[in-house]
Each structure stands twice: as structure tokens, then as C-alpha cells.
Symmetry: C2
Subunit: 209 residues, 2 copies
Amino acid sequence: KISNATIRRLSIYLRQLEEIIDEKIETVSSAEIAKMSAIKDTQVRKDLSFFGSFGVRGRGYSAKELAEKLKIILGLNKEWKAVLIGVGSLGKALSGYKGFAKHNINFIAVLDSDPAKIGAHIGDKVIERYSAAALKECCEKSGAQIAVIAVPASEAKKVCEEVIQAGFKGIVNFAPVRLHLPEEIALYSVDLAISFEHITFKLNRNSDE
Amino acid sequence: KISNATIRRLSIYLRQLEEIIDEKIETVSSAEIAKMSAIKDTQVRKDLSFFGSFGVRGRGYSAKELAEKLKIILGLNKEWKAVLIGVGSLGKALSGYKGFAKHNINFIAVLDSDPAKIGAHIGDKVIERYSAAALKECCEKSGAQIAVIAVPASEAKKVCEEVIQAGFKGIVNFAPVRLHLPEEIALYSVDLAISFEHITFKLNRNSDE
Ligand SMILES: NC(=O)c1ccc[n+]([C@@H]2O[C@H](COP(=O)([O-])OP(=O)(O)OC[C@H]3O[C@@H](n4cnc5c(N)ncnc54)[C@H](O)[C@@H]3O)[C@@H](O)[C@H]2O)c1
Ligand SMILES: NC(=O)c1ccc[n+]([C@@H]2O[C@H](COP(=O)([O-])OP(=O)(O)OC[C@H]3O[C@@H](n4cnc5c(N)ncnc54)[C@H](O)[C@@H]3O)[C@@H](O)[C@H]2O)c1
């Protein structure tokens, strides 16, 4: 089982490689990737060889080939259909975010339980009524694989269970609740506070010096 | 210099410890923290001893004491004043998010450049006109330490430079641009795509088996 920390490193390597490619650099060493990513050289080489990428001794890696390989590993060469559940402030922002399309993630439906919102337009989509049946239809008929949960914390656990019952295997959760799901469900809980802790850690440390 | 990966691990340990504390468990071993966090036991012990936390041989750590220690290290025992720049869909969601107050992060001002938005109310705040001078005032007079950037990608670099000139030392950036800032600035760029890559990586892997 690959840990989240490992997957995150792969995402980081990819982003560094894309930056290198933009600068028209063709070859890169693991030491350079390590420096750019702020990750130990031994870890970089371990990760890349684990996923089957062997650099050329004395030459390093081809930045383009390695980036392509990472994209395949991260599933970025495929199309992904997602359903957005909860079209409040956050859901509204997520549904309009152009960045998802760049990663081949496309919302095929946006669902909410608020009668005042159902039927309203958001971007080019119509908000549909949330129900276990609607979820099933998105998963089975429309082939959606990923459910994005942007409902209040009090609702998230129940929505999560219904999402799994509907057949979804992937969940990106934004609600601040701890979810303990079956092993086979790919879950990622976005915790914006962690982003802020990176900052307060450093500001705190600098003020102590 | 402590890497982002290390800080993230500390945040994860803290969350696992809070869960343990909620379950009224008093003592925890590094092996248990490792298992709950999906991080190697050797790494957990290395991190905790680096930050001065020594468990009791044969007994493990006091969950409450360790959590308190991590909170101090992560700066969570302090109050932080933040400024939000860009009150579009995402900014609106961020300004309304109750989760920040729980982490002692308080938006003391929300700024935008759109005349249609300036003067409008958002929650209990009034949107003020964005300018380098306004930033300086927030930083110097009001003591804001963290700037949260939620403007379009095309504006982010310039806003970032003005934020640094105004004296901010911490930035949480949501715009999808690569920012290369001076070492002394604590920067965290939130990349939601990384969250989705955790899911597509796993869904991709499962479909290959
Ligand atoms: N706003 C942020 O920046 C932010 C950041 C991080 C996390 N979050 C979390 O994301 C979630 C959404 O935040 P928000 O600010 O958009 O809240 P919100 O209250 O504006 O939106 C919640 C939406 O979910 C809908 N909803 C409630 N129960 C539902 C159900 N069973 N099925 C379908 N839809 C349902 C509501 O009708 C509403 O439209 C919350 O859990 C919040 O803690 C928000
Ligand atoms: N919407 C999302 O879920 C999401 C997710 C990840 C990242 N992002 C990124 O966050 C940013 C904001 O996204 P959004 O969907 O809210 O966009 P938006 O266009 O709705 O909002 C941008 C806001 O920034 C303001 N602005 C523009 N230039 C400014 C300046 N110089 N100073 C102050 N304010 C300025 C605009 O007036 C507008 O209110 C974008 O860079 C986007 O790529 C958004």
C-alpha cells in the first residue's frame, strides 16, 4: 500500500519536472530533482526506481520522459468524471475552477439538498437534487468515479456512506470531519489548516530566533 | 531549514493525537502514531526527538503533552492576523470558513480591486480597496502577518511582490502560478490538484490490478 506521503512526492516531482521542461532543460539528475523538491536524494531515487524509472548512469533522466511516466502513474493521462455534492460557497468556487479541467477532471453533475438551490444554474450546469438515487445514476449511468464532498461537517459522514453505497471508489472531502472508510475507497480529505500550519510553523520559528 | 514534508508530518501527528485524545486514550507509542499516520516508525521517532520530545522508555508518550508540544511547534498556541486578497468565489468561501478561527487565524481585512465589490459586505466585514498602501496599513498598523492570495493567476505574481514590500512574512497562495520568493518569506501554495492526484493515483492503480 503506497502512503499519501509517497503519492505527494510524486506530484511534487512532476511539478518540478514541468518547471524544468518549461525552461527547455532536457536532462535532470535525481540530485537536482531532490534540491528543487526539498526532498532527500536517496528518497527521490528510491521513489523513481520503485515506480520503474531508471535514469541513465552518468546522464540522469530525460525530463520529458520522466514527466510522462509520472503523469501515467498519477492517472493524469486519463479522463475522470466527478460529482460535486454541496454547492455552497466552497462548492460554487470548486465548480467554477478551471484548474480541474487541466487535470482532466470534469464535474458531470452538481448536487445539493437545498430546495432554493435545486434547479439554479451554476456556470453551465444545473444544480440537481441530492439523493442516494441521483448518486447511483451518476456512478452507474454516467460513469462518475470521484465524489467531491463540500457539505457541512454534520452532513459529511452520511453523504460519504451514501456515496460509497452508490458505487463511488474515490472521494475528495472538504468537510472538517474524520472519515474512516473501507480500505478500497480512495479518500483524500483536504485540510486547509495544514496549509496554514506550514506558515505559522515558519513564522513561529523565525520569531524564536 | 525544515522541509515542507517534515512540517506536514508534524501536522498529521497532531491530528492523529487529537483523535486518540478524543477516544480518552492517555498514552501512545511511536509505533501507534506511525501506524495511524501511515508514516515509518523510524521517521516518527526521528521527527519527535528532533523537536525535543522524548517518550518514556517502555511507556511511550503522553498523548496530551505531545499534542500540546506539537501545537506550540506549529504556532497554534498563538493568534494570527491574516489579510485576504481577492474576494471572488474562492475568497468568499475562505472568508466565511469557520475552521480558520479554530486555528486562531483571523482575517482582519478583505481586499479586492473590483469597484463593484469594494464597499460590499461579506459576512461581518467590508471589502476594502486593494492597494499597496492598504497592505502596508494592514501589516504595520493592524499587525497582520499572513497574506492569503485568492486572485487570478495573472495577478498573483504582482500581488505577491506588493505583499512582501508591505512587510508580510507569510503567504498562503491559491493561484496556480509558480512563485519564487526570497528564502525568509514563508510561502505555501495550495494546489488542489495534488489532492485529486492522490485519488486518481489510487483509482488508476486499482484498475490496473
Ligand atoms: N469555505 C471554505 O473555504 C472551506 C474551507 C475548507 C473546508 N470547508 C468545508 O467545506 C464544507 C462547505 O463549506 P461552505 O463554506 O461551502 O458551506 P455552505 O454552508 O456555504 O455550503 C454547504 C452546502 O451543502 C449543502 N448541503 C447540506 N447538506 C447536504 C446534503 N446532505 N447533500 C447535498 N448538499 C447538502 C447546503 O445546502 C449548502 O449549499 C464545510 O464542511 C466546510 O467546513 C470550507
Ligand atoms: N475556485 C476554486 O475552487 C479554486 C481552487 C484552487 C485555486 N483557485 C485559484 O484561486 C484564485 C481565485 O479563484 P476564484 O475562482 O475565486 O476567481 P474569481 O475570478 O472569482 O476571483 C478573483 C477575485 O480577485 C480579484 N482581483 C483581481 N485582481 C486583483 C488584485 N490585483 N488585487 C485584489 N483583488 C484582485 C477579482 O476582482 C476577483 O474578485 C484563482 O487564481 C484560481 O485559479 C481557485
